[in-house]
């Protein structure tokens, strides 16, 4: 049973990682806690639903389309709702809250509140060393790994990636080096929202879709980036797995409630004794 629990934990862990990476990109480069990130995740899921179910496209194709479209949406949002509030915390909170309301209500209006479900791209269940796992969950894990490595490669290898690091370390200095901070912010938001959309779509294939699925994702995402350290990608990965395993294993050993309390305690302890997070610096 324990291997089953660990597998359960890993699966949720990878989804948390996708959400958190998007959040941490935006936070470290645009400098804003994007509270509407959960809604972006939700919209990602609905976009896939639209292409996959309504227009009957192939799941993976729709996934790709959704990542791109939502990424672009992200660029627009960054330009008009985030960029103006780079340097004021309260302004950013209010504008992102407004975004939550707008996006949620818009989806309620367009898609309705009725339950939606994205059919699993590959039916069936497979057994890995005694633990069972449905294909769509395996796909979620693999896809997440692919996307995360893609992100890592992008940041390591490309000039834009390096520029992102520079901006995240010190925006003014980066600007002085002639880096176009606005462009980098747009790229960051594009990738952040893309990842969120992917997370939403992949979970959409596993669970059901509702316009209110975002809040949960947001809290998990924030938790992960706090534990991992703002702006740290390896940190986010480790933290995501930790919180995922807490949800997977503690739930099975005790209960859902104990699991969520444990998660919160982990987060609060980290904040108190290592506010920069496990991998954060300074």
């Amino acid at each position: 049973m324990i291997e089953q629990n660990i597998l359960n934990g890993l699966m949720s862990g990878w989804i948390y990682i996708l959400v958190a990476l998007g959040l941490t990109l935006v936070l470290s480069i645009v400098g804003i806690v994007q509270l509407a990130h959960g809604e972006v995740y939700m919209i990602g899921a609905y976009t896939v639903y639209c292409f996959c179910v309504v227009l009957g496209l192939n799941f993976f194709l729709s996934l790709l389309i959704s990542i791109l479209l939502v990424g672009l949406l992200g660029v627009v949002l960054e330009r008009f709702f985030l960029r103006p509030f780079r340097d004021d915390v309260e302004g950013a909170i209010v504008s992102t809250i407004a975004l939550i309301l707008i996006l949620q209500t818009a989806v309620v209006g367009i898609a309705g509140v009725g339950y939606k479900e994205i059919p699993s791209p590959i039916q069936g269940v497979l057994t890995i060393l005694g633990a069972r796992l449905s294909w769509e969950r395996l796909i979620a894990i693999l896809a997440s790994m692919v996307l995360v490595s893609a992100l890592l490669i992008f940041i390591e290898k490309t000039r834009t990636g390096q520029a992102m690091i520079a901006v995240s370390e010190n925006r003014e200095a980066a600007a002085l080096q002639g880096i176009n901070v606005n462009r980098v912010s747009s790229v960051a938001m594009f990738m952040g929202c893309g990842l969120a959309a992917a997370a939403g779509a992949l979970t959409g294939a596993i669970f059901d879709l509702t316009p209110f699925m975002g809040g949960f994702a947001l809290m998990k995402g924030i938790g992960v980036i706090i534990v991992g350290g703002l702006g740290s990608i390896p940190g986010a990965i480790i933290a995501g797995l930790i919180l995922g395993l807490v949800d997977g294993v503690v739930t099975a050993l005790f209960s859902v409630q104990v699991a969520s309390i444990t998660g919160l305690i982990v987060i609060i302890l980290i904040l108190l004794f290592r506010p920069q997070g496990l991998f954060g610096h300074g």
Partner: protein, 321 residues
């Protein structure tokens, strides 16, 4: 007293009389109810701003309201205390908890502080949900008794059977909150707060104990949140963990910012307007959030200093001519 002293006191005096007479003109219980809710929100928004005057944004307010509401409800129901004893105790409970958790939290700066307070709220909500035998779990506590009647023969007779009595109680609560917070802020403590907000390094270099003042502001702010919570419980006569979540914290925060947190009166205006909006926007049904969002955006983009800065803007407009 010479005129210079009397004249400025005139408008608040008029305001007070108007507020005292409201129930005479407005007998409609629903309107009174809205005004009472408004009172709760004003208390919350103003106390949240008080915390922000040292330059820290707390999202723990919902948690503190919850602590206040539960402690006073439990004190009255389980220990049979009088509401009038439970009310301040609720405030003190919230305050002491804020002090205990606050002491380590205040080391955290900026967004970190905001985040930890956010998770504190989550934690409290979870705690009151799971501590079933004490807090009644998800259902929370129902049929919380009304405040004990105050009867001074011939003078006043508050039985809290009607909304009118609660209106006056809310008025008293708001008055108490505003006066105490304004007194503190306008004293040298307020100056210390503000200096910590503007430059912590400089403040410390001239001998201001910034950590101390951060804790002071946080706990005092939470005291009033606790009071508001107690009032909430005994007015609505029912409390549930779900009522004091992330959403409440965010709403109070929005009241504060939309009103304008640079001025003492800002959160008051914010709370008043934003309490009314949902009531007036009910006609929009599912689409009501759009209205709310629209207002937030308008304020945040065109009135960065908050609604309170509107008259100032007009004055600026008129100035050149």
């Amino acid at each position: 007293m010479d005129r210079r002293k009397i004249v400025p006191l005139l408008s608040p005096a008029i305001l007070l009389i108007v507020l005292l007479l409201v129930p005479v003109f407005i007998s409609q219980p629903y309107v009174l109810h809205v005004l009472i809710v408004m009172g709760i929100n004003i208390t919350l928004a103003t106390s949240l701003r008080f915390i922000a005057t040292v330059g820290q944004f707390s999202l723990a307010h919902a948690g503190m309201v919850s602590i206040g509401a539960y402690s006073s409800a439990l004190l009255v129901i389980k220990l049979g205390l009088s509401f009038w004893a439970a009310l301040p105790l609720a405030g003190l409970t919230a305050m002491s908890i804020a002090f205990l958790v606050g002491s380590p939290f205040v080391r955290l700066k900026g967004i970190y502080f905001t985040m930890v307070t956010l998770f504190l709220t989550e934690f409290i909500t979870l705690l009151v949900t799971e501590w079933r035998n004490l807090t009644g779990g998800v259902q929370g506590i129902i049929s919380i008794p009304r405040p004990n009647a105050i009867v001074l023969p011939g003078l006043l007779n508050l039985t809290f059977a009607s909304k009118v009595d609660f209106y006056y109680l809310a008025l008293a609560m708001v008055g108490f909150t505003l006066i105490s917070l304004y007194a503190i802020e306008s004293s040298r403590i307020g100056i210390a707060f503000s200096s910590v907000r503007q430059s912590e390094a400089l403040a410390e270099s001239i001998g201001v104990n910034s950590a101390g003042f951060r804790i002071l502001a946080f706990s005092l702010g939470c005291f009033f949140a606790g009071i508001a919570g107690a009032f909430y419980g005994h007015y609505f006569s029912a409390i549930a963990p779900g009522s004091f979540g992330f959403l409440l914290s965010i709403n109070v925060f929005i009241y504060m910012v939309v009103g304008g947190l640079r001025r003492f009166a800002g959160p008051i205006i914010g709370a008043i307007i934003l309490t009314l909006i949902p009531e007036l926007a009910r006609a929009f049904k599912e689409y009501e959030p759009f209205v709310f969002a629209a207002i937030l955006l308008v304020v945040i983009f065109f009135l960065r200093e908050g609604l309170i800065s509107l008259p100032v803007l007009f004055r600026k407009r008129r100035a050149p001519r």
